[in-house]
């Protein structure tokens, strides 16, 4: 049973030819199949609109329909939508002005990646921060890192690492999907500062307090180093600021890199008031009188 052409075009029975034409154009614009390639329903709708217009635009056919002599099917027009079928195939490249190659490749890849959860995919790299004690960074150590998922990674810290350095543990990151390889764990190191040692490349610096007696007379003193206490013999007359280099007692060597040195800077400490010392100094006459402030005037 064909539709009533008046209803298809949405016009009244007594509509003027002009109103019919207007209604038809409006619907044709909305439903032309070549302008609606993704909507199959548009084609059926367009055919119905065209058939209705075919009858109502012809005064003779319209009169016959009004008298009930023909039904709403009328006769069908030449099918529109032929261009759509051509343009969608390879032949359409003839008029394919756009888009340039690759313009949508990223979008498409994303869409299809989402649609294909069964392909093997590598796991993601996961980043972590690991606080490293000063001694571990200097001597090397194995530190444990507890991951958010409860796993514990044993991280080999080579000697000489610095804050900001990143260690990569292969295969310890996010799990791969469907046989894809796991990602890596990227571990950023945060080396704690030390209260007395300072790093300077692979050398270490230490301010070494000495008593007045040790400074004047020299002798053996105990010096802390990252690898344990060490007895060091101070030469006599070691003034404040004197530097002593302990070879190989800095940052431990690693591979071809030799160990750094530990540089001691002496600092004479007088200590609490001492009556004997005061009495001695009051009577003391220096062998070689000297002005330690000589040359300071030059800075004025």
């Amino acid at each position: 049973m064909a539709d009533d052409p008046y209803q298809v075009l949405g016009v009244a029975q007594g509509a003027t030819p002009d109103a019919i034409k207007k209604a038809y154009r409006k619907l044709a614009r909305a439903h032309h199949p070549d302008l609606n390639p993704g909507k199959p329903a548009a084609e059926a709708r367009f055919k119905a609109v065209s058939a209705a217009h075919e009858i109502l635009s012809d005064p003779d056919k319209r009169a016959r329909f009004d008298r009930g002599e023909i039904d709403g099917a009328g006769q069908e027009q030449a099918p529109a939508g032929g261009y759509r079928r051509q343009a969608e195939e390879a032949a359409g490249a003839r008029y394919g002005t756009a888009p340039p190659e690759g313009m949508f490749d990223d979008l498409l890849a994303e869409m299809f990646a989402r649609q294909r959860p069964d392909g093997p995919r590598a796991g993601r790299d996961e980043s972590y921060l690991l606080k490293v004690p000063f001694a571990s960074a200097v001597m090397g150590a194995t530190e444990e890192l507890t991951l958010p998922d409860g796993r514990v990674l044993r991280v080999q810290i080579p000697p000489g690492v610095e804050t900001g350095q990143v260690l990569r543990l292969r295969g310890q990151g996010g799990a791969g999907r469907q046989g894809g390889p796991a990602g890596d764990a990227l571990i950023e190191l945060d080396v704690a500062p030390h209260p007395v040692f300072r790093r300077e490349g692979f050398d270490l610096r230490l301010d070494l307090p000495v008593t007045l007696r040790e400074a004047v007379l020299g002798g053996a003193v105990e010096v802390p180093t990252p690898s344990g206490a060490l007895r060091v013999t101070l030469p006599a007359g070691s003034d404040t600021g004197r530097q002593i280099r302990l070879r190989g007692k800095g940052v431990a060597g690693h591979g071809a890199r030799a160990a750094g040195d530990l540089l001691l800077a002496l600092r004479v400490v007088i200590g609490p008031p001492d009556a004997a010392l005061e009495a001695f100094l009051r009577d003391w006459v220096p062998e070689h009188p000297q002005d330690p402030r000589a040359g300071l005037e030059a800075g004025r």
Partner: protein, 92 residues
């Protein structure tokens, strides 16, 4: 394959002047075979589309290139989507 004469016989509303103008503007792109214009099926359907745009949908001369350009982009995208879909089927 059609010549320009056959094409004008096929569409009553089409004049050779209109068609030559559209070819000049690049709206229709027939093959040139030894100096003779030859229209493939897609060209024939494109002429039908332009006629329908002009006569049925009242798209005027100025708006025609805009409409055609947007349509060309739409179909190019649909072709690429379809190709990508085929490529995915082949690798899946």
């Amino acid at each position: 394959m059609m010549t320009i004469e056959m094409l004008c016989l096929r569409f009553a509303a089409l004049t050779p002047e209109d068609l030559l103008h559209w070819i000049e503007e690049g709206h229709v792109r027939p093959d040139d075979q030894a100096g003779m214009l030859v229209f493939r099926e897609i060209d024939v359907e494109r002429v039908r589309l332009i006629l329908e745009l002009r006569d049925m949908l009242e798209v005027n001369e100025a708006a025609l290139p805009v409409v055609l350009s947007l349509l060309d982009q739409l179909y190019a995208l649909r072709r690429r989507l379809r190709e990508a879909g085929i490529a995915v089927d082949e690798t899946a």
